[in-house]
Protein backbone atom coordinates (compact mmCIF):
# COMPACT_ATOMS: atom_id res chain seq x y z
CA UNK A 1 0.00 0.00 0.00
CA UNK A 2 1.27 3.50 -0.81
CA UNK A 3 1.57 5.94 2.06
CA UNK A 4 1.72 9.02 -0.11
CA UNK A 5 0.21 9.39 -3.55
CA UNK A 6 0.89 12.65 -5.37
CA UNK A 7 -0.78 13.32 -8.69
CA UNK A 8 0.05 16.35 -10.86
CA UNK A 9 0.43 18.56 -7.78
CA UNK A 10 1.06 22.24 -8.61
CA UNK A 11 1.57 25.31 -6.48
CA UNK A 12 1.75 28.80 -7.91
CA UNK A 13 2.58 32.04 -6.16
CA UNK A 14 1.33 34.57 -8.69
CA UNK A 15 3.34 33.96 -11.82
CA UNK A 16 5.98 31.90 -10.02
CA UNK A 17 5.46 28.16 -10.05
CA UNK A 18 6.99 26.65 -6.93
CA UNK A 19 5.82 23.10 -7.53
CA UNK A 20 5.17 22.09 -11.13
CA UNK A 21 2.98 19.02 -11.82
CA UNK A 22 4.76 16.66 -9.49
CA UNK A 23 3.54 13.05 -9.39
CA UNK A 24 4.95 10.51 -6.99
CA UNK A 25 4.13 7.41 -4.94
CA UNK A 26 5.87 6.57 -1.72
CA UNK A 27 5.53 3.16 -0.07
CA UNK A 28 4.85 2.40 3.53
CA UNK A 29 8.02 2.15 5.60
CA UNK A 30 10.13 3.69 2.88
CA UNK A 31 12.80 6.31 3.56
CA UNK A 32 12.32 8.71 0.73
CA UNK A 33 14.78 11.55 0.09
CA UNK A 34 13.88 14.77 -1.65
CA UNK A 35 16.90 16.58 -3.08
CA UNK A 36 17.19 19.95 -4.69
CA UNK A 37 18.85 23.33 -4.52
CA UNK A 38 17.35 26.10 -2.40
CA UNK A 39 14.09 27.22 -3.93
CA UNK A 40 13.65 24.03 -5.92
CA UNK A 41 10.25 23.50 -4.31
CA UNK A 42 11.05 20.84 -1.70
CA UNK A 43 9.77 22.82 1.29
CA UNK A 44 6.68 23.98 -0.58
CA UNK A 45 5.86 20.40 -1.51
CA UNK A 46 6.20 19.30 2.11
CA UNK A 47 4.05 22.20 3.29
CA UNK A 48 1.30 21.17 0.91
CA UNK A 49 1.45 17.53 2.01
CA UNK A 50 1.31 18.51 5.69
CA UNK A 51 -1.62 20.84 5.19
CA UNK A 52 0.33 23.99 6.02
CA UNK A 53 -0.26 25.34 2.57
CA UNK A 54 -2.91 24.73 -0.07
CA UNK A 55 -2.15 23.41 -3.55
CA UNK A 56 -3.15 25.33 -6.67
CA UNK A 57 -4.10 22.20 -8.57
CA UNK A 58 -3.55 18.46 -8.57
CA UNK A 59 -4.37 15.80 -6.04
CA UNK A 60 -2.62 14.04 -3.22
CA UNK A 61 -3.50 11.53 -0.55
CA UNK A 62 -1.45 11.15 2.59
CA UNK A 63 -1.93 8.05 4.75
CA UNK A 64 -4.97 7.29 2.65
CA UNK A 65 -6.66 10.65 3.18
CA UNK A 66 -7.20 13.35 0.60
CA UNK A 67 -5.19 16.44 1.58
CA UNK A 68 -7.96 18.80 0.47
CA UNK A 69 -10.97 17.13 1.97
CA UNK A 70 -9.60 15.50 5.10
CA UNK A 71 -6.84 17.81 6.27
CA UNK A 72 -7.49 17.09 9.94
CA UNK A 73 -7.32 13.32 9.40
CA UNK A 74 -4.09 13.74 7.46
CA UNK A 75 -2.67 15.77 10.32
CA UNK A 76 -3.65 13.12 12.84
CA UNK A 77 -1.50 10.61 11.00
CA UNK A 78 1.65 12.57 10.31
CA UNK A 79 4.59 14.03 12.17
CA UNK A 80 6.54 17.05 11.01
CA UNK A 81 9.85 18.63 11.73
CA UNK A 82 10.63 21.90 10.00
CA UNK A 83 14.00 23.27 8.96
CA UNK A 84 13.58 26.03 11.52
CA UNK A 85 13.63 24.65 15.04
CA UNK A 86 10.06 24.94 16.19
CA UNK A 87 9.67 23.46 19.64
CA UNK A 88 9.00 25.92 22.44
CA UNK A 89 12.36 27.16 23.65
CA UNK A 90 10.93 28.51 26.86
CA UNK A 91 9.44 25.16 27.84
CA UNK A 92 11.47 22.30 29.29
CA UNK A 93 12.22 19.09 27.40
CA UNK A 94 9.53 17.20 29.30
CA UNK A 95 6.95 19.95 28.92
CA UNK A 96 7.43 20.01 25.15
CA UNK A 97 6.97 16.26 24.90
CA UNK A 98 3.87 16.37 27.09
CA UNK A 99 2.38 19.25 25.16
CA UNK A 100 2.66 17.67 21.75
CA UNK A 101 1.66 14.26 23.08
CA UNK A 102 -1.42 15.87 24.58
CA UNK A 103 -2.27 17.74 21.41
CA UNK A 104 -2.30 14.49 19.44
CA UNK A 105 -4.62 12.95 22.01
CA UNK A 106 -2.15 10.45 23.44
CA UNK A 107 -3.39 9.28 26.84
CA UNK A 108 -1.74 10.75 29.93
CA UNK A 109 -0.46 7.38 31.20
CA UNK A 110 1.04 6.55 27.88
CA UNK A 111 2.66 9.98 27.67
CA UNK A 112 4.30 9.33 31.02
CA UNK A 113 5.74 5.93 30.16
CA UNK A 114 6.79 6.91 26.69
CA UNK A 115 8.41 10.16 27.85
CA UNK A 116 10.73 8.16 30.08
CA UNK A 117 11.50 5.86 27.18
CA UNK A 118 12.25 8.71 24.80
CA UNK A 119 14.41 10.52 27.34
CA UNK A 120 16.37 7.30 27.83
CA UNK A 121 16.85 6.84 24.11
CA UNK A 122 18.08 10.40 23.74
CA UNK A 123 20.23 10.21 26.84
CA UNK A 124 18.44 13.30 28.13
CA UNK A 125 17.26 11.85 31.46
CA UNK A 126 19.15 14.49 33.39
CA UNK A 127 18.01 17.31 31.15
CA UNK A 128 14.27 16.66 31.34
CA UNK A 129 13.75 19.75 33.44
CA UNK A 130 16.05 21.96 31.42
CA UNK A 131 14.70 24.61 29.11
CA UNK A 132 15.01 23.57 25.49
CA UNK A 133 16.74 26.90 24.87
CA UNK A 134 19.73 25.66 26.87
CA UNK A 135 20.31 22.49 24.82
CA UNK A 136 22.95 22.36 22.08
CA UNK A 137 21.59 22.39 18.54
CA UNK A 138 22.22 18.71 17.88
CA UNK A 139 20.23 17.63 20.91
CA UNK A 140 17.42 19.95 20.03
CA UNK A 141 17.14 18.43 16.55
CA UNK A 142 17.06 14.91 17.95
CA UNK A 143 14.45 15.99 20.47
CA UNK A 144 12.38 17.62 17.73
CA UNK A 145 12.47 14.36 15.79
CA UNK A 146 11.39 12.37 18.82
CA UNK A 147 8.52 14.76 19.37
CA UNK A 148 7.52 14.50 15.71
CA UNK A 149 7.16 10.71 15.97
CA UNK A 150 5.98 10.62 19.60
CA UNK A 151 2.36 9.98 18.69
CA UNK A 152 3.46 7.15 16.37
CA UNK A 153 2.34 8.67 13.10
CA UNK A 154 2.18 6.69 9.87
CA UNK A 155 4.36 9.20 8.05
CA UNK A 156 6.93 11.71 9.24
CA UNK A 157 8.05 14.70 7.19
CA UNK A 158 11.53 16.01 7.86
CA UNK A 159 12.47 19.29 6.23
CA UNK A 160 16.25 19.59 6.25
CA UNK A 161 16.49 18.11 9.72
CA UNK A 162 20.26 17.98 9.89
CA UNK A 163 21.33 21.36 8.55
CA UNK A 164 23.99 22.91 10.74
CA UNK A 165 24.52 19.74 12.80
CA UNK A 166 27.93 18.10 13.33
CA UNK A 167 28.74 14.81 11.51
CA UNK A 168 28.49 12.63 14.63
CA UNK A 169 25.07 13.91 15.53
CA UNK A 170 24.00 13.55 11.94
CA UNK A 171 25.02 9.91 12.10
CA UNK A 172 22.98 9.43 15.29
CA UNK A 173 20.08 11.24 13.71
CA UNK A 174 20.04 8.85 10.79
CA UNK A 175 20.11 5.93 13.15
CA UNK A 176 16.94 7.32 14.66
CA UNK A 177 15.42 7.60 11.19
CA UNK A 178 16.26 3.97 10.47
CA UNK A 179 14.75 2.89 13.77
CA UNK A 180 11.55 4.75 12.94
CA UNK A 181 11.36 3.26 9.47
CA UNK A 182 11.86 -0.22 10.85
CA UNK A 183 8.73 0.34 12.96
CA UNK A 184 6.83 0.95 9.74
CA UNK A 185 6.87 4.75 9.76
CA UNK A 186 7.24 6.22 6.30
CA UNK A 187 9.92 8.93 6.21
CA UNK A 188 9.96 11.79 3.72
CA UNK A 189 13.15 13.79 4.21
CA UNK A 190 14.63 16.74 2.34
CA UNK A 191 18.33 17.39 2.50
CA UNK A 192 21.26 19.31 1.12
CA UNK A 193 23.80 16.66 2.00
CA UNK A 194 24.53 14.27 -0.83
CA UNK A 195 25.97 11.61 1.45
CA UNK A 196 22.61 11.52 3.23
CA UNK A 197 20.91 10.86 -0.08
CA UNK A 198 22.62 7.51 -0.29
CA UNK A 199 21.08 6.52 3.07
CA UNK A 200 17.61 6.73 1.50
CA UNK A 201 15.72 3.87 -0.11
CA UNK A 202 14.70 6.07 -2.99
CA UNK A 203 15.35 9.67 -3.87
CA UNK A 204 13.79 12.28 -6.11
CA UNK A 205 15.69 15.29 -7.38
CA UNK A 206 13.75 18.51 -7.83
CA UNK A 207 14.77 21.48 -9.91
CA UNK A 208 12.75 24.67 -10.45
CA UNK A 209 9.58 23.05 -9.16
CA UNK A 210 9.81 20.00 -11.41
CA UNK A 211 10.76 16.48 -10.42
CA UNK A 212 13.69 15.63 -12.65
CA UNK A 213 14.81 12.21 -11.45
CA UNK A 214 13.41 9.39 -9.35
CA UNK A 215 14.85 6.09 -8.24
CA UNK A 216 17.09 4.35 -5.74
CA UNK A 217 20.55 5.89 -5.33
CA UNK A 218 22.04 2.94 -7.19
CA UNK A 219 19.59 3.20 -10.07
CA UNK A 220 20.25 6.90 -10.48
CA UNK A 221 24.00 6.49 -10.44
CA UNK A 222 23.68 3.77 -13.07
CA UNK A 223 21.31 5.79 -15.21
CA UNK A 224 23.59 8.81 -15.29
CA UNK A 225 26.74 6.66 -15.34
CA UNK A 226 28.42 8.42 -12.44
CA UNK A 227 29.93 7.30 -9.13
CA UNK A 228 28.31 9.78 -6.76
CA UNK A 229 24.82 11.12 -6.27
CA UNK A 230 26.40 14.53 -6.22
CA UNK A 231 27.32 14.15 -9.88
CA UNK A 232 23.76 13.15 -10.73
CA UNK A 233 22.58 16.27 -8.97
CA UNK A 234 25.05 18.54 -10.75
CA UNK A 235 24.14 16.95 -14.05
CA UNK A 236 20.46 17.69 -13.54
CA UNK A 237 20.78 21.16 -12.17
CA UNK A 238 22.92 22.17 -15.12
Amino acid sequence: MDSIIIDQLTKKFGSFTAVDKVSLRIQKGEIFGLLGANGAGKTTLIKILTGLSGASSGKATVAGFDIHRHVEKVKMNIGYMSQKFSLYEDLTVRENIQLFGGIYGVSSDYIKTKTTLVLDQLGLQDSAKKLVKSLPLGWRQKLAFSVAIFHEPKIVFLDEPTSGVDPITRRQFWEMIYAAASQGITVLVTTHYMDEASYCDRIAIMNAGKMEALGSPGELKAAYQVDHIEDVFIHIVR
Partner: protein, 373 residues
Protein backbone atom coordinates in the same frame (compact mmCIF):
# COMPACT_ATOMS: atom_id res chain seq x y z
CA UNK B 1 -11.36 19.55 25.66
CA UNK B 2 -8.23 17.77 26.81
CA UNK B 3 -6.31 19.38 23.98
CA UNK B 4 -7.43 22.80 25.12
CA UNK B 5 -6.31 22.07 28.66
CA UNK B 6 -2.88 21.08 27.39
CA UNK B 7 -2.65 24.33 25.45
CA UNK B 8 -3.76 26.43 28.43
CA UNK B 9 -1.21 24.70 30.63
CA UNK B 10 1.51 25.42 28.10
CA UNK B 11 0.53 29.07 27.94
CA UNK B 12 0.68 29.50 31.72
CA UNK B 13 4.02 27.71 31.88
CA UNK B 14 5.40 30.15 29.34
CA UNK B 15 3.89 33.24 30.89
CA UNK B 16 5.21 32.58 34.34
CA UNK B 17 8.58 31.44 33.07
CA UNK B 18 9.27 35.07 32.20
CA UNK B 19 10.88 36.42 35.30
CA UNK B 20 9.51 39.86 34.63
CA UNK B 21 5.94 38.65 34.29
CA UNK B 22 4.92 37.99 37.85
CA UNK B 23 6.29 41.21 39.31
CA UNK B 24 4.80 43.09 36.37
CA UNK B 25 1.40 41.64 37.16
CA UNK B 26 1.51 42.87 40.71
CA UNK B 27 3.54 46.03 40.37
CA UNK B 28 1.67 47.40 37.40
CA UNK B 29 -1.65 47.87 39.19
CA UNK B 30 0.14 49.24 42.21
CA UNK B 31 2.14 51.82 40.28
CA UNK B 32 -0.73 52.79 38.04
CA UNK B 33 -3.10 53.29 40.94
CA UNK B 34 -0.63 55.34 42.93
CA UNK B 35 0.51 57.51 40.09
CA UNK B 36 -2.75 58.02 38.27
CA UNK B 37 -4.85 58.66 41.30
CA UNK B 38 -2.45 61.14 42.78
CA UNK B 39 -1.26 62.65 39.56
CA UNK B 40 -4.75 63.29 38.36
CA UNK B 41 -5.88 64.92 41.56
CA UNK B 42 -6.40 68.44 40.36
CA UNK B 43 -5.47 70.47 43.33
CA UNK B 44 -2.45 72.70 43.35
CA UNK B 45 -0.77 74.03 46.38
CA UNK B 46 2.12 76.45 46.60
CA UNK B 47 1.37 78.55 43.57
CA UNK B 48 4.10 81.16 43.52
CA UNK B 49 2.76 84.66 43.27
CA UNK B 50 4.44 87.99 42.83
CA UNK B 51 2.40 90.91 44.16
CA UNK B 52 3.02 94.35 42.78
CA UNK B 53 1.92 96.87 45.31
CA UNK B 54 2.36 100.62 45.14
CA UNK B 55 0.94 101.89 48.40
CA UNK B 56 0.74 100.45 51.84
CA UNK B 57 -2.82 101.46 52.56
CA UNK B 58 -5.12 99.57 54.86
CA UNK B 59 -7.10 97.80 52.09
CA UNK B 60 -3.95 96.91 50.16
CA UNK B 61 -2.50 95.18 53.17
CA UNK B 62 -5.72 93.36 53.87
CA UNK B 63 -5.86 92.03 50.33
CA UNK B 64 -2.22 90.91 50.39
CA UNK B 65 -2.69 89.14 53.68
CA UNK B 66 -5.55 87.15 52.15
CA UNK B 67 -3.12 85.68 49.64
CA UNK B 68 -0.54 85.06 52.32
CA UNK B 69 -3.09 83.14 54.35
CA UNK B 70 -4.27 80.96 51.47
CA UNK B 71 -3.01 77.39 51.37
CA UNK B 72 -2.87 77.51 47.60
CA UNK B 73 -0.49 80.43 47.32
CA UNK B 74 3.03 81.21 48.35
CA UNK B 75 3.88 84.87 48.09
CA UNK B 76 7.26 84.88 46.39
CA UNK B 77 7.84 88.60 46.60
CA UNK B 78 6.01 91.86 47.06
CA UNK B 79 7.52 94.69 45.04
CA UNK B 80 6.53 97.75 43.10
CA UNK B 81 8.25 96.79 39.87
CA UNK B 82 6.31 95.37 37.00
CA UNK B 83 9.55 94.60 35.12
CA UNK B 84 10.89 92.49 37.95
CA UNK B 85 7.64 90.60 38.27
CA UNK B 86 7.50 89.97 34.55
CA UNK B 87 11.07 88.68 34.49
CA UNK B 88 10.28 86.23 37.24
CA UNK B 89 7.21 85.05 35.40
CA UNK B 90 9.24 84.45 32.26
CA UNK B 91 11.81 82.42 34.12
CA UNK B 92 9.04 80.45 35.77
CA UNK B 93 10.12 81.59 39.19
CA UNK B 94 6.55 82.68 39.77
CA UNK B 95 3.30 81.48 38.25
CA UNK B 96 1.14 84.50 38.80
CA UNK B 97 1.41 88.28 39.05
CA UNK B 98 -1.13 90.27 41.02
CA UNK B 99 -0.94 94.00 40.58
CA UNK B 100 -2.77 96.28 42.99
CA UNK B 101 -2.87 99.52 41.04
CA UNK B 102 -2.23 102.98 42.35
CA UNK B 103 -5.15 104.64 44.11
CA UNK B 104 -6.65 101.25 44.83
CA UNK B 105 -8.02 102.20 48.20
CA UNK B 106 -9.06 105.62 47.04
CA UNK B 107 -11.14 104.17 44.23
CA UNK B 108 -12.60 101.57 46.47
CA UNK B 109 -13.75 104.06 49.03
CA UNK B 110 -14.88 106.66 46.53
CA UNK B 111 -16.71 104.64 43.90
CA UNK B 112 -17.14 101.35 45.74
CA UNK B 113 -15.25 99.65 42.95
CA UNK B 114 -11.58 98.98 42.31
CA UNK B 115 -9.75 96.77 39.87
CA UNK B 116 -6.76 94.53 40.36
CA UNK B 117 -4.71 93.12 37.51
CA UNK B 118 -3.87 89.47 37.37
CA UNK B 119 -1.38 88.00 34.94
CA UNK B 120 -1.05 84.26 34.80
CA UNK B 121 1.46 82.20 32.89
CA UNK B 122 -1.03 80.39 30.72
CA UNK B 123 1.45 78.11 29.00
CA UNK B 124 0.04 75.40 31.14
CA UNK B 125 -3.65 75.99 30.60
CA UNK B 126 -4.85 73.60 33.25
CA UNK B 127 -2.67 75.18 35.87
CA UNK B 128 -3.58 78.68 34.76
CA UNK B 129 -7.24 77.76 34.98
CA UNK B 130 -6.87 76.45 38.51
CA UNK B 131 -4.73 79.41 39.50
CA UNK B 132 -7.31 81.93 38.37
CA UNK B 133 -10.04 79.84 39.98
CA UNK B 134 -8.25 80.08 43.33
CA UNK B 135 -7.56 83.80 42.84
CA UNK B 136 -11.18 84.47 42.04
CA UNK B 137 -12.42 82.60 45.05
CA UNK B 138 -10.10 84.57 47.31
CA UNK B 139 -11.36 87.82 45.83
CA UNK B 140 -14.95 86.63 46.06
CA UNK B 141 -14.73 85.82 49.73
CA UNK B 142 -12.89 89.07 50.25
CA UNK B 143 -15.74 90.91 48.56
CA UNK B 144 -18.26 89.03 50.65
CA UNK B 145 -16.50 90.10 53.81
CA UNK B 146 -16.51 93.70 52.72
CA UNK B 147 -20.21 93.47 52.06
CA UNK B 148 -20.87 91.92 55.42
CA UNK B 149 -18.88 94.64 57.12
CA UNK B 150 -20.72 97.34 55.24
CA UNK B 151 -24.05 95.82 56.11
CA UNK B 152 -23.14 95.72 59.74
CA UNK B 153 -22.33 99.36 59.47
CA UNK B 154 -25.48 100.17 57.60
CA UNK B 155 -27.45 97.75 59.75
CA UNK B 156 -29.48 97.05 56.70
CA UNK B 157 -32.40 94.64 56.47
CA UNK B 158 -31.97 90.96 55.93
CA UNK B 159 -30.71 89.99 52.50
CA UNK B 160 -31.77 86.38 52.29
CA UNK B 161 -32.27 86.05 48.52
CA UNK B 162 -32.15 82.67 46.84
CA UNK B 163 -30.06 80.06 48.55
CA UNK B 164 -28.77 77.07 46.64
CA UNK B 165 -28.03 73.97 48.64
CA UNK B 166 -26.15 71.21 46.89
CA UNK B 167 -26.09 67.61 48.01
CA UNK B 168 -23.43 65.42 46.51
CA UNK B 169 -24.64 61.90 46.02
CA UNK B 170 -22.50 58.77 45.86
CA UNK B 171 -19.33 60.56 46.86
CA UNK B 172 -20.16 63.17 49.49
CA UNK B 173 -16.52 63.64 50.47
CA UNK B 174 -15.71 64.32 46.84
CA UNK B 175 -12.87 61.81 46.84
CA UNK B 176 -11.16 62.05 43.51
CA UNK B 177 -9.67 58.58 43.92
CA UNK B 178 -13.12 57.02 44.06
CA UNK B 179 -13.72 58.40 40.61
CA UNK B 180 -10.33 57.47 39.15
CA UNK B 181 -9.76 53.97 40.52
CA UNK B 182 -12.62 52.26 38.66
CA UNK B 183 -11.37 53.80 35.42
CA UNK B 184 -7.75 52.86 36.01
CA UNK B 185 -8.74 49.26 36.64
CA UNK B 186 -10.18 49.19 33.14
CA UNK B 187 -6.93 50.44 31.64
CA UNK B 188 -5.03 47.73 33.49
CA UNK B 189 -7.28 44.92 32.37
CA UNK B 190 -7.35 46.22 28.80
CA UNK B 191 -3.60 46.55 28.55
CA UNK B 192 -3.13 42.94 29.59
CA UNK B 193 -5.87 41.64 27.35
CA UNK B 194 -4.88 43.47 24.22
CA UNK B 195 -1.10 43.62 24.35
CA UNK B 196 -0.34 40.20 25.65
CA UNK B 197 -2.70 38.26 23.41
CA UNK B 198 -1.66 40.01 20.25
CA UNK B 199 2.00 39.85 20.99
CA UNK B 200 1.88 36.30 22.21
CA UNK B 201 0.41 34.98 18.99
CA UNK B 202 2.76 37.05 16.86
CA UNK B 203 5.68 35.71 18.84
CA UNK B 204 4.74 32.19 17.80
CA UNK B 205 4.67 33.39 14.22
CA UNK B 206 8.06 35.02 14.55
CA UNK B 207 9.67 32.05 16.23
CA UNK B 208 8.13 29.55 13.82
CA UNK B 209 6.52 27.50 16.58
CA UNK B 210 3.11 28.19 15.13
CA UNK B 211 4.04 25.98 12.19
CA UNK B 212 4.60 23.01 14.46
CA UNK B 213 1.18 23.65 15.97
CA UNK B 214 -0.50 24.12 12.61
CA UNK B 215 0.69 20.75 11.37
CA UNK B 216 -1.05 19.00 14.27
CA UNK B 217 -4.74 18.10 14.13
CA UNK B 218 -5.61 20.96 16.50
CA UNK B 219 -8.79 22.71 15.44
CA UNK B 220 -8.84 26.44 14.94
CA UNK B 221 -11.25 26.94 17.81
CA UNK B 222 -9.15 24.80 20.15
CA UNK B 223 -6.06 26.83 19.40
CA UNK B 224 -7.88 30.13 19.84
CA UNK B 225 -9.52 29.12 23.11
CA UNK B 226 -6.16 27.81 24.29
CA UNK B 227 -4.69 31.22 23.55
CA UNK B 228 -7.47 33.42 24.83
CA UNK B 229 -8.51 31.60 27.99
CA UNK B 230 -5.19 32.07 29.82
CA UNK B 231 -5.20 35.79 29.15
CA UNK B 232 -8.82 36.05 30.16
CA UNK B 233 -7.93 34.42 33.48
CA UNK B 234 -4.86 36.58 33.87
CA UNK B 235 -6.81 39.76 33.22
CA UNK B 236 -9.55 38.74 35.67
CA UNK B 237 -6.88 38.04 38.24
CA UNK B 238 -5.42 41.45 37.57
CA UNK B 239 -8.84 42.99 38.07
CA UNK B 240 -9.17 41.22 41.40
CA UNK B 241 -5.74 42.45 42.47
CA UNK B 242 -6.62 45.97 41.35
CA UNK B 243 -9.93 45.98 43.21
CA UNK B 244 -8.24 44.74 46.36
CA UNK B 245 -5.53 47.39 46.12
CA UNK B 246 -8.15 50.03 45.44
CA UNK B 247 -10.04 49.00 48.55
CA UNK B 248 -6.94 48.85 50.72
CA UNK B 249 -5.22 51.97 49.46
CA UNK B 250 -8.11 54.28 48.68
CA UNK B 251 -11.05 52.66 50.41
CA UNK B 252 -13.09 52.83 47.22
CA UNK B 253 -16.77 52.13 47.74
CA UNK B 254 -18.23 48.88 46.47
CA UNK B 255 -21.92 49.66 46.41
CA UNK B 256 -23.00 47.19 43.77
CA UNK B 257 -22.37 43.53 43.14
CA UNK B 258 -18.81 42.44 42.44
CA UNK B 259 -20.24 39.46 40.57
CA UNK B 260 -21.80 41.89 38.15
CA UNK B 261 -18.43 43.53 37.57
CA UNK B 262 -16.73 40.23 36.90
CA UNK B 263 -19.62 39.15 34.72
CA UNK B 264 -19.27 42.24 32.61
CA UNK B 265 -15.49 41.82 32.58
CA UNK B 266 -15.83 38.42 30.94
CA UNK B 267 -17.85 39.87 28.08
CA UNK B 268 -15.56 42.87 27.87
CA UNK B 269 -12.44 40.72 27.79
CA UNK B 270 -14.00 38.56 25.09
CA UNK B 271 -14.10 41.75 23.03
CA UNK B 272 -10.65 42.98 23.96
CA UNK B 273 -8.99 39.61 23.44
CA UNK B 274 -10.70 39.47 20.08
CA UNK B 275 -9.12 42.82 19.25
CA UNK B 276 -5.73 41.50 20.30
CA UNK B 277 -6.29 38.48 18.09
CA UNK B 278 -7.36 40.68 15.20
CA UNK B 279 -4.21 42.77 15.58
CA UNK B 280 -2.10 39.62 15.62
CA UNK B 281 -3.57 38.44 12.33
CA UNK B 282 -2.47 41.72 10.78
CA UNK B 283 1.06 41.72 12.17
CA UNK B 284 4.17 39.77 11.42
CA UNK B 285 6.43 41.10 14.14
CA UNK B 286 5.93 41.81 17.80
CA UNK B 287 7.01 45.38 17.20
CA UNK B 288 4.16 45.81 14.77
CA UNK B 289 1.62 44.14 17.01
CA UNK B 290 2.61 46.26 19.94
CA UNK B 291 2.53 49.43 17.97
CA UNK B 292 -0.85 48.80 16.43
CA UNK B 293 -2.36 47.77 19.78
CA UNK B 294 -0.85 50.78 21.41
CA UNK B 295 -2.31 53.10 18.82
CA UNK B 296 -5.83 51.81 19.25
CA UNK B 297 -5.59 51.53 22.99
CA UNK B 298 -4.50 55.14 23.23
CA UNK B 299 -7.41 56.38 21.13
CA UNK B 300 -9.83 54.21 23.07
CA UNK B 301 -8.57 55.54 26.39
CA UNK B 302 -8.48 59.19 25.40
CA UNK B 303 -12.02 58.98 24.05
CA UNK B 304 -13.33 56.90 26.93
CA UNK B 305 -14.24 59.60 29.41
CA UNK B 306 -11.52 58.51 31.80
CA UNK B 307 -10.27 62.05 32.39
CA UNK B 308 -12.73 64.21 30.50
CA UNK B 309 -16.42 63.66 30.42
CA UNK B 310 -18.02 62.25 27.30
CA UNK B 311 -21.05 64.53 27.59
CA UNK B 312 -18.83 67.53 26.99
CA UNK B 313 -17.51 66.22 23.70
CA UNK B 314 -18.89 67.46 20.39
CA UNK B 315 -21.65 65.30 18.96
CA UNK B 316 -19.52 63.48 16.38
CA UNK B 317 -16.99 62.55 19.04
CA UNK B 318 -19.73 61.28 21.32
CA UNK B 319 -20.89 59.00 18.54
CA UNK B 320 -17.46 57.38 18.31
CA UNK B 321 -17.85 56.18 21.87
CA UNK B 322 -20.60 53.82 20.71
CA UNK B 323 -17.82 51.68 19.29
CA UNK B 324 -15.44 52.12 22.18
CA UNK B 325 -15.52 49.16 24.56
CA UNK B 326 -13.23 50.95 27.00
CA UNK B 327 -15.80 53.71 27.45
CA UNK B 328 -18.50 51.17 28.29
CA UNK B 329 -16.41 49.34 30.83
CA UNK B 330 -15.30 52.51 32.61
CA UNK B 331 -18.90 53.61 32.81
CA UNK B 332 -20.06 50.23 34.08
CA UNK B 333 -17.33 50.08 36.68
CA UNK B 334 -18.12 53.52 38.03
CA UNK B 335 -21.83 52.84 38.05
CA UNK B 336 -21.56 49.55 39.88
CA UNK B 337 -18.88 50.54 42.36
CA UNK B 338 -20.01 54.05 43.21
CA UNK B 339 -23.71 54.12 42.53
CA UNK B 340 -24.62 50.50 43.14
CA UNK B 341 -26.25 50.17 39.73
CA UNK B 342 -27.83 46.81 39.06
CA UNK B 343 -28.00 44.63 36.00
CA UNK B 344 -31.20 46.30 34.79
CA UNK B 345 -29.45 49.70 34.86
CA UNK B 346 -26.61 48.62 32.62
CA UNK B 347 -28.11 45.83 30.54
CA UNK B 348 -27.74 48.01 27.45
CA UNK B 349 -23.98 48.10 27.96
CA UNK B 350 -23.85 44.31 28.21
CA UNK B 351 -25.61 43.94 24.89
CA UNK B 352 -23.56 46.58 23.08
CA UNK B 353 -20.19 45.31 24.25
CA UNK B 354 -21.30 41.76 23.51
CA UNK B 355 -22.20 42.79 19.96
CA UNK B 356 -18.88 44.56 19.42
CA UNK B 357 -17.18 41.44 20.71
CA UNK B 358 -19.04 39.18 18.30
CA UNK B 359 -18.15 41.37 15.32
CA UNK B 360 -14.51 41.71 16.31
CA UNK B 361 -14.09 38.00 16.98
CA UNK B 362 -15.87 37.12 13.76
CA UNK B 363 -13.33 39.08 11.75
CA UNK B 364 -10.44 37.85 13.85
CA UNK B 365 -11.35 34.20 13.31
CA UNK B 366 -12.05 34.85 9.65
CA UNK B 367 -8.64 36.42 9.25
CA UNK B 368 -6.78 33.83 11.28
CA UNK B 369 -5.46 31.07 9.07
CA UNK B 370 -3.93 27.78 9.85
CA UNK B 371 -2.63 27.51 6.32
CA UNK B 372 -0.37 30.09 4.75
CA UNK B 373 -0.89 31.55 1.28
Amino acid sequence: MRTILYLIRKEFLQIFRHKIMLPALFIMPFVQLIILVHAADFEIKNIKIHIINHENQNWNVRLISQFMASEHFVVHQVSNSYTLAYQQLEKREVDLILEIPKDFEKNLLKSNKASVFIGANAIDGMKAGLTTFYTNSILRSFNKNIVLEQMKIANSRSTAGIQTKTVFWYNPEMEYAHFMVPGILVILVTAIGMFFTGINIVKEKEMGTIEQINVTPIRKYQFLIGKLAPFMLLALMELAIGLTLGKLMFDIPMEGSLWLIFGFSVIYLFTILGLGLLVSTFSNTQQQAMFISWFFLMIFVLMSGLFTSIDSMPAWAQKTTWFNPVAYFIDVNRKILLKGSEFADISGHFIKVGLIGLVVNFFAVLNYRKTSA
